[in-house]
């Protein structure tokens, strides 16, 4: 977005609210929605990539060492990765604590 969404006027919208700027969803930081965050215990991770596959926001990234980690800028804390992890090495931790 050329400017934040809450500052765009109706005149600045394309007809039909067509979005012409490619990949601008990246600028919407959904991580602020989160009440819990996934914490990975790397010792239990078998690098299978199930968390990467299931993440609905595609925010799980693979690090150079092969382990996976959620990008907290976008992670909404839905917990699907923790639920699907076959070894149970991902725990959801409250953001309050």
């Amino acid at each position: 977005m050329a400017k934040p969404m809450d500052q765009i006027t109706w005149q600045e919208l394309e007809t039909g609210s067509v979005v012409t700027e490619i990949g601008n969803a990246r600028q919407y930081e959904t991580g602020s929605w989160r009440s819990e965050r996934p914490v990975v215990d790397a010792s239990g991770c078998i690098k299978c990539g199930v968390c990467w596959l299931f993440c609905p926001d595609s925010c799980v990234k693979q690090a150079a060492d092969g382990h996976f980690e959620a990008d907290l800028t976008y992670c909404k804390g839905c917990g699907i990765c923790a639920k699907e992890c076959p070894t149970g090495c991902i725990k959801m931790v409250s953001e309050e604590g």
């Binding site: 969404m5 809450d6 765009i8 006027t9 109706w10 005149q11 919208l13 394309e14 007809t15 039909g16 609210s17 067509v18 979005v19 012409t20 490619i22 919407y28």
Partner: protein, 392 residues
């Protein structure tokens, strides 16, 4: 095709018009009384007379979905439906308008179930009144043919980019055989250039359509739609004027018949205008100062044209073809009352709902409605509406 006058069923004439308009995609599911329009188009394509994709979808929801996809890539797109079919496509119907996709639809107006009925009234179109389409009502076969071209011209104008529904009364118009002037292909080509869509889907120019909208942006998106529909008025009037200049057949958002010196007028929308004019002729011969006002453009509603047409009238007798259950009257009368609210010397409005699900409203009925409506207005009985002819 050369310019020629033919005696032809209105549905068939409309399909021929769609072919002359050189559409690229037709997606439709057959439903009475729209059937002949799409069946004949299917034949035209199958016989190789029109280079178009005819997509025989499995439902109306899919029909409108296909139409959205095809219009999104900049293809000239046509569909047609009625009643339950419109109800089934209503989810995508609204999306087509919001995404500003210039689809043209022949909406063969039919009552909504239940009781299940295949016959004509306006309950189907009124159920989608606020979806953001342009709605035009026609009253004859010639108008049905003509409005195919004007509607594509309006829909695809870069200043408009909105879907247009051509409302024609089911059976009363769709199945009528009338003499209709066909324009020659050269005239059509001149009037209706190829569509040029600014943000059409194309791999070379990737865009996203129909995106998620948070509360921060939804209001602005709706404002853009509201302004788009209101501003389409200028293009509509211009497109009709240019069609008139080419063919001699001029159309206006609000049309009148013997209304200039009339003290009171009957207001119609759709095919009832023809019968109303005949009855007004007869009443005029008896000395009644009565005229007809016909609403051709329903959305965007032509407030100024309407106010101008009714200036100086004492009474308007409005015939609606649908009920707004528990509401203030039929949808047309509600609209007109709203248009006149607070205006100085506004005429009184008496509202009749008549002709539901094809119940015949003949000349004698128009006469009854007009004279009874005049008496009601004189007696100050102007609230709500009367369901004409209901037993009990």
């Amino acid at each position: 095709m050369a310019k020629v006058r033919k005696g032809i069923e209105v549905s068939i004439a409309m399909s021929e018009a769609v072919a002359q308009a050189n559409v690229d995609v037709i997606a439709a599911y057959p439903i009475t009384p729209q059937t002949h329009i799409v069946e004949h188009l299917s034949e035209i394509v199958a016989d190789g007379h029109l280079d178009a994709e005819y997509v025989p979808v499995e439902s109306e929801h899919s029909a409108m979905s296909v139409c959205c996809g095809s219009a999104a890539v900049g293809a000239r797109t046509f569909t047609s439906t009625s009643s339950q079919g419109l109800a089934l496509m209503s989810e995508i119907f609204t999306i087509a308008a919001a995404m500003r996709l210039p689809i043209v639809m022949a909406l063969a107006n039919r009552s909504l179930s239940s009781p299940l009925s295949i016959w004509n009234d306006h309950s189907d179109v009124m159920s989608v009144r606020d979806a953001g389409w342009i709605h035009v009502f026609v009253e004859s076969g010639q108008e049905s043919y003509d409005h195919v071209f004007t509607s594509f011209r309006i829909a695809e104008d870069p200043a408009v980019m909105l879907p247009v529904a051509i409302n024609l009364d089911g059976f009363i118009l769709t199945h009528m055989i009338e003499p209709i002037w066909f324009e020659d292909d050269e005239t059509i080509r001149k009037y209706l250039p190829d569509m040029k869509m600014k943000n059409a889907l194309h791999p070379d120019n990737p865009v996203s359509m129909g995106c998620f909208g948070m509360p921060e942006i939804y209001t602005e998106a709706q404002m853009s739609r509201q302004v788009g529909v209101v501003n389409s008025y200028d293009t509509i009037v211009k497109a009709w004027k240019e069609w008139g200049d080419l063919t001699g057949r001029y159309y206006h958002p609000v049309e009148t018949y013997k209304a200039d010196d009339a003290e009171y007028c009957i207001v119609t929308m759709g095919s009832y205008g023809e019968t109303a004019m005949e009855v007004v002729d007869a009443l005029r011969a008896e000395g009644e100062k009565v005229g007809v006002i016909k609403i051709r453009l329903w959305r965007p509603f032509p407030f100024e044209d309407f106010r101008k047409a009714v200036a100086g009238k004492k009474t308007l007798i409005v015939i609606d073809r649908a009920i707004s259950f528990g509401g203030p009257g039929g949808p047309v009368a509600s609209e007109l009352r709203s248009a006149l609210y607070g205006q100085a010397n506004a005429p009184k409005i008496v509202n009749y709902v008549a002709g539901l699900a094809g119940r015949d409203v003949a000349r004698a009925d128009f006469r009854n409605i007009i004279l009874e409506g005049k008496a009601k207005a004189a007696a100050g009985d102007v609230d709500g509406f009367t369901l004409y002819g209901v037993r009990g």
